[in-house]
Symmetry: none
Subunit: 241 residues, 2 copies
Amino acid sequence: MAFDDIRIVLIEPAHPGNIGAVARAMKTMSLSRLVLVRPSSFPSEQADRRAMGAIDLLQRARVVDDLDQAIGDCRLVIGGSARARTFPHSVLDARQCGARLVEETAMGEPAALVFGPERTGLANQDLDRCTYQVLIPANEAFSSLNLASAVQLICYEIFLAAHEPVAPVVLAPAERPSSQAEMEYFYEHLERALDSRGFLDGEMREVTMMKLRRLFGRSRPNSGELKLLRTLMRFIHREGE
Amino acid sequence: MAFDDIRIVLIEPAHPGNIGAVARAMKTMSLSRLVLVRPSSFPSEQADRRAMGAIDLLQRARVVDDLDQAIGDCRLVIGGSARARTFPHSVLDARQCGARLVEETAMGEPAALVFGPERTGLANQDLDRCTYQVLIPANEAFSSLNLASAVQLICYEIFLAAHEPVAPVVLAPAERPSSQAEMEYFYEHLERALDSRGFLDGEMREVTMMKLRRLFGRSRPNSGELKLLRTLMRFIHREGE
């Protein structure tokens, strides 16, 4: 596996110091690819200071405008979140997350680990773009890990998994799953098709689309399967009505 | 085992912010006993700020003049150190360290985990007071973990060891997947719907249905999701034709 195929994506990090601390945490565990989505302030002196010997990661960090640019080419995207959600995702613990990321990149695929803003965590619509949610086992009464600490823990599990091959925790699909961008294209198609039936009218649009994203996201369709699903969408679509 | 029997000892922490970050890291993993040996500045506003919801740990922290006061009643003392030493100690990795601490306190004995100053790490004479040295597996070219990150990692391993047996490696879906019979009923519905569109004519019927079974079978839909899928099937079905 290649550590360089695993990227850490921070969405709207508010404190520059945390960006530096994340870079340091990543480098201690051999990770190097940092992507920042709309950072409040970057580059910054404070980030450099907290990065210590990991300034090279900051210098090579990619800054992008939205999450899709950060993960569009990834088939496996894991969202870090302390909260259990009302509509739960497939959840990995930190150890399973490390193993799964190593397994994915062993096949030469890029993969992403996404974290939300410090105060609020990942927004639901961002979590919906993730294949899995990772939950770090923690004190139920106080599970609020610092951002850099959360990154440190998961990078540590990646490092361990990379150095002691373990049995795969999740069955890898036989064929290459579709990219996040291809899945987005499919979801748009699905939404249009259901719209043509008036099925998404009213308040339930978001919830319904989210449920469908979870469902199809879990099965990680390959390109042939996605083609089949698109045929189904065409049948659903009521033209000209 | 009792988390309260495991204490974290910081020797001469230079930055008050780190003391707060250590308290936060400890509390996320259910640890609560913090001992400070000659802190440069304590209590401090900066420590309180970084502790977030773990200020109670700072308020109950013990401040002592030397290491012996901090660990005198312990039989097991483990020293955290990034460096391998010239005269090596018995070394544990982080996972072994967590297991060893839990094992010790299960016998009702207090135990201590000791960290040195941020810049220099544990002095040799302090390490000599330890039963073991713990080394966190890390990038050999850059193994300098932040103090709070190191505490976070080891407390995490303590937390996991205390909660063993660990989570099953096979992913349990958040909700109960549908039964095979329910799935069969859905596949029949799907086949009828596609039939009404003439999509399954000819030799490809079996192959197409098999592909769809693989795809939907992988996502293991629960009953709510199956209901949603049945609605989709109704849209596909062309009535009376």
